[in-house]
């Protein structure tokens, strides 16, 4: 059944029933590989996966899970813009569009270098797992490539709707079944990654929910990026951090520093724990149970977040406007006298804004309405509330595992058609997710440029690459700059290691 899926029928999630039907599409591989590959075909939406070594749903980026169930309501609020959510499967998911994209626009070279950490292929890239999601929604794991060209070739052949990047393994992932001992196949290196997803903000955002976003709630992502980026640089000393728009409602971070890539699961878990403040079950409870005086990381984060709390939360989200909403705030204040007095005040003046209600807390408290709390404790409680409404909500599981796969930068988000472009953190406040180009726009821009420059000589025209004719240009250039810095550092590190290694004792073990 599941051949040539027409765009209209995509909502039925056509599943791949027969492995044999995928194989003809697969690129030529070694004979041993044929068998291995067929069993790597997964159905991404299915929770019943047999062939994968780990729980698959834990390995995926969740961002796209409810891609096709997204008839999510946005609040009827004229200040809320339509989310970058697109019509039912559009042109951008068609294999031909994808093929054009991979052929003319996708930055394979810098992506290769970014994952390879050198100019010529080494195990960092060659033993790296890629997982493809094909147009028929088949999910193929353990793909690997000897070179950027071969990688590009397979993308052109298979036209994946997206692909994910996994770790470098101890051996070529395609050959993992040829080894007698499965235990020798293990992940050895991967970028440290973070995933911030807007859905985790549903309990506190009022403008949208689910897959939708608007400019107002995008601010939560901005706050999160600032805090996480600051900690990664200042506390952990990481320098090669790439932030990437996930294509719809979140952002990913990829940290390529050698020290970060080589971390085992325990160290990943420890960084995730260091950054994590709000764990799922603890939301909405009184107090976060954090130590005072505040740990310098929390203290710094709070300083970053305070202005956002005033503007993005109190003013724009207005989270405690209605009386039901105000109850949430009261629940976070651990003093019965205080909450009773506030309740009374707000009952008699029901139209007070969140900003006013926030100020009321101090006014009412100063009027002598504190029973159990000291003034200092009230300050702490208010800090906790500010953190609850601004502090990054990380999908920590993504960060904890060396073998977790994450969607590659520059692929197309299948729900929006937008390219997952890098975000320049130096100009984070300027980044507008609604201005990120879609693949259809980009292809049109090439045509437009060609038409406009029809008079140009053939020779002149050949100097301009297709991506340079489009809105993708600044993003690709930013990425190339990022990769160049990484490679430079990598080369320096390598030379130093070689020099140091020359004097070492080869007999030492």
């Amino acid at each position: 059944m599941p051949h040539a899926v027409s765009p209209e029928s995509s909502q039925e999630l056509p599943a791949l029933n027969s492995e044999a039907e995928v194989l003809p599409d697969a690129p030529p591989t070694t004979s041993l590989d044929t068998d291995a590959q067929s069993s790597d075909v997964e159905e991404p939406e299915s929770k019943q996966t047999n062939a994968a070594p780990a729980k698959l749903d834990e390995l995926f980026d969740d961002d796209d899970d409810d891609e096709f169930s997204s008839s999510v309501q946005t609040r009827a609020d004229d200040s809320s813009q339509p989310a970058p959510q697109a019509a039912p499967k559009a042109q951008y998911s068609e294999p031909e569009t994808l093929r054009q994209f991979y052929q003319r626009l996708f930055p394979f070279r810098p992506l290769f270098q970014w994952l390879n950490h050198a100019a010529s292929p080494q195990p960092d890239f060659q033993n790296r797992e890629f997982a493809f999601v094909l147009p028929n929604d088949a999910y193929i794991r353990y793909q690997s490539f000897a070179s950027a060209d071969l990688f590009r070739k397979q993308c052109l052949q298979m036209t994946p709707t997206r692909f994910e990047i996994g770790p470098q393994y101890s051996m070529n992932p395609r050959e993992r079944k040829t080894m007698r001992s499965a235990s020798s196949f293990r992940p050895v290196m991967k970028e440290l990654v973070f995933d911030i997803d807007m859905t985790d903000y549903d309990p506190i955002r009022t403008c949208c929910s689910g897959a939708s976003i608007c400019h107002k709630c995008w601010r939560f992502i901005v706050m999160a990026v600032k805090v996480v980026d600051g900690a990664l640089r200042e506390d952990f000393g990481f320098q090669h951090i790439l932030w990437v728009y996930s294509g719809r409602r979140g952002a990913h971070a990829w940290i390529s520093d050698k020290r970060a890539r080589e971390m085992d699961d325990a160290k990943r878990k420890s960084i995730a724990g260091y950054l994590e403040l709000l764990r799922g079950s603890e939301h909405g409870k009184k107090g976060l149970g954090i130590r005072r005086p505040l740990h310098p990381h929390i203290d710094r984060s709070l300083k970053i977040l305070n202005p956002h709390f005033q503007t993005d939360v109190l003013a724009d989200q207005d989270p405690w406007q209605s009386s039901e909403q105000a109850e949430k705030l009261l629940n976070l204040l651990p003093d019965k006298t205080l909450t009773a007095a506030l309740q009374k005040k707000w009952d008699s003046a029901p139209n007070r804004s969140s900003n006013q209600k926030w100020a009321d807390i101090d006014t009412v408290a100063e009027a002598g309405n504190l029973s159990t709390l000291t003034t200092k404790q009230l300050v702490d409680a208010k800090q906790d509330i500010r953190l609850e409404y601004t502090y990054p909500r990380l999908d920590a599981e993504v960060s904890k595992k060396l073998n977790h796969l994450l969607k590659s930068p520059f692929v197309i988000h299948p729900g929006t058609g937008r390219v997952c472009v890098p975000i320049d953190v130096r100009r984070l406040d300027d980044f507008d997710p609604f201005e990120v180009p879609t693949v259809t726009q980009l292809l049109q821009e090439i045509d437009d440029w060609d038409a406009k420059n029809a008079s140009m000589s053939e020779e002149e025209r050949a100097k301009v690459l297709d991506w340079q004719k489009t809105g993708l240009k600044p993003y690709v250039e930013y990425f190339r700059g990022h990769v160049a810095t990484l490679l430079k550092e990598e080369g320096r590190g390598k030379r130093e290691r070689e020099e140091a290694g020359a004097g070492g004792d080869p007999m030492e073990f």
Binding site: E234, D235, F236, G237, F238, R259, M263, A266, K267, K269, S270, I271, G273, Y274, R291, P293, L294, H295, P296, H297, I298, D299, M507, F509
Partner: protein, 508 residues
């Protein structure tokens, strides 16, 4: 390891060669090491000479210590209790004096500590399970000892370690003082020393995860109170790596067939630590034991022997292995050969004298070393079986009732058996079920002993009647009997008679 020196005192065939690298580095020089510190990171294998006997003896002593430590863990003893329990055990089996004590034994104690660690490291590197258990227990032992190290000596030991930490200078401290205090949860009320050091953050992932260090560009500023934990973590990390390494060399070690059986025995002993039998398990010098007193004494028997006794009374018969196990036990408690023959003759009341003589008598006499080859006679027959022997031998088949019931009975049948012999304490039975579920058979047995002798043990402890090492984990049925007998007869037996002593060496 590698110990091929020309020490004339040790027969080359009996020299233990521990270092797996021996064959690769034939020219290295092996010298006696000096031990500047009481504590040891065991980074380098021993290089001196040691006889096979010593190799095994020291290994067994250390095993005893580790087994007691594990028993504390199985019984969920809190740290303070574990410490108290372990003090006499360590004193007896693996004493380590401080440098300050200027004890003449110091060098030998440290050598024993060093060598025994390495023998067990080799013995337990064979499987992932053993490696993990060994690393866990050694780390605990290390921690326990580190905590009790003399302050100045601990400082000197920690400073000697190859760890890359840097003291935070006064200048830096003044610059970051508030942040240092806030980050590390410094509390002057707790009397925290105002002192920090810094390391790469990867050295302290747990502290980072809990936000208990100050981080600056990849360096973690750690409060000195965490230093001990870090040393322990580093010890554990290195040991685990060392065990992995040893595992890879183990196949080569097997070529040394003189060492192989010892290593095998040591690793076997981890199932239930082995205890040899000693003559002093007999109560023959305190009470007269004869064929007719066994029924009365059976109240002090461990379940494995009580069960055989009950089966014998019920059927007037016992199968071969049960007879052997029981005869040796009876020999151990002090029943003479003559009385033993009387005991069996009376017990097998359905048999004719003639049949008894022709089919059973010889075996009883053989067990006592009364007949058989010279070796058997010299050794006065077989040694009473230890818990380890009972826990590792083949399971009994239909109609047989030898072995350890905690292991051979299903949990339900075991509980029924315990109830039949009068043990009804529900909490105790629940604990026993849990122990046997985890295959901790000897722990279940010790649990029963401790509960059924609770009051007596308390009295002994409160009044310091016995050295604490006399209340360690029971690993031999004869120890069970003697200790139980003495506890139930406190005051009746003169204090000088107390000699419940589990020897650390194989008596064979």
């Amino acid at each position: 390891m590698l110990a091929v020196t020309t020490n004339p005192r040790i027969d080359p065939k009996k020299r233990a060669v521990l270092d797996p690298r021996k064959r690769q580095f034939a020219k290295a020089q092996w010298v006696e090491q000096e031990y500047a510190h009481r504590m040891n990171f065991y980074t380098t294998p021993p290089t001196g000479d040691i006889s096979l006997e010593q190799f095994e003896e020291w290994g067994i002593a250390r095993l005893k210590v580790l087994a007691e430590l594990e028993a504390c863990q199985f019984r969920n003893k809190p740290p303070a209790e574990t410490e108290e329990y372990m003090r006499p055990v360590l004193e007896k089996h693996m004493r380590l004096s401080s440098t300050r004590s200027r004890s003449s034994e110091t060098a030998m104690e440290r050598k024993k500590d060093h060598y025994s660690h390495w023998s067990l490291r080799l013995a337990f590197s064979g499987t992932a399970d053993l490696r993990q258990r060994f690393a866990r227990l050694e780390t605990q032992l290390f921690k326990l000892r580190l905590q009790h190290d003399d302050l100045a000596e601990r400082r000197a030991f920690i400073d000697s370690l190859p760890m890359s930490w840097e003291t935070v200078t006064a200048e830096e401290k003044n610059l970051w003082l508030d942040e240092l205090k806030a980050a590390t949860g410094f509390s002057s009320m707790r009397g925290d020393e105002e002192s920090w050091f810094k390391v790469d953050w990867e050295m302290v992932p747990e502290l980072v995860e809990r936000r208990q260090v100050l981080l600056k560009r990849g360096k973690a500023y750690v409060h000195v109170r965490e230093q001990q934990t870090m040393v322990v973590n580093e010890f554990s990390r290195r040991l685990e790596a060392g065990l992995e390494l040893a595992a890879r060399f183990l196949p080569r070690m097997d070529e040394d067939n003189r060492l192989a059986p010892i290593l095998h025995h040591l690793s076997q002993s981890f199932v239930a630590p082995d205890a040899g039998y000693s003559e002093s398990s007999s109560i023959g010098d305190m009470a007269s034991i004869n064929a007719s007193s066994i029924d009365a004494l059976s109240q002090h028997f461990p379940l494995c022997m009580l069960n055989l006794h009950r089966e014998l009374r019920k059927d007037s018969h016992l199968k071969h292995y049960g007879r052997l196990q029981y005869t040796l036990f009876l020999k151990g408690i002090g029943l003479s050969l003559q009385e033993c023959i009387v005991f069996w003759r009376k017990s097998f009341k359905l048999l004719t004298d003639e049949k008894f003589k022709s089919e059973y008598l010889y075996n009883i006499r053989h067990s006592y070393g009364d007949v058989g080859g010279d070796a058997n006679k010299r050794g006065r027959g077989y040694t009473p079986y230890s818990c380890q022997k009972l826990l590792t031998e083949a399971l009994p088949s239909g109609g047989q009732s030898h072995g350890c019931p905690y292991r051979t009975y299903s949990p339900d049948n075991l509980v029924a058996l315990l109830q039949n012999v009068g043990i009804n304490d529900r909490e105790l039975l629940r604990g026993v079920r849990e122990d046997v579920g985890k295959q901790r058979y000897h722990i279940a047995c010790n649990r029963v002993f401790e509960t059924t002798h609770k009051n007596e043990i308390k009295k002994v402890k409160d009044q310091s009647l016995w050295p604490a090492s006399e209340l360690d984990t029971i690993l031999h049925p004869n120890t069970y009997f003697k200790r139980g007998f003495l506890l139930k007869n406190l005051g009746k037996v003169q204090s000088g008679d107390i000699g419940v002593d589990v020897p650390t060496q194989m008596s064979e």
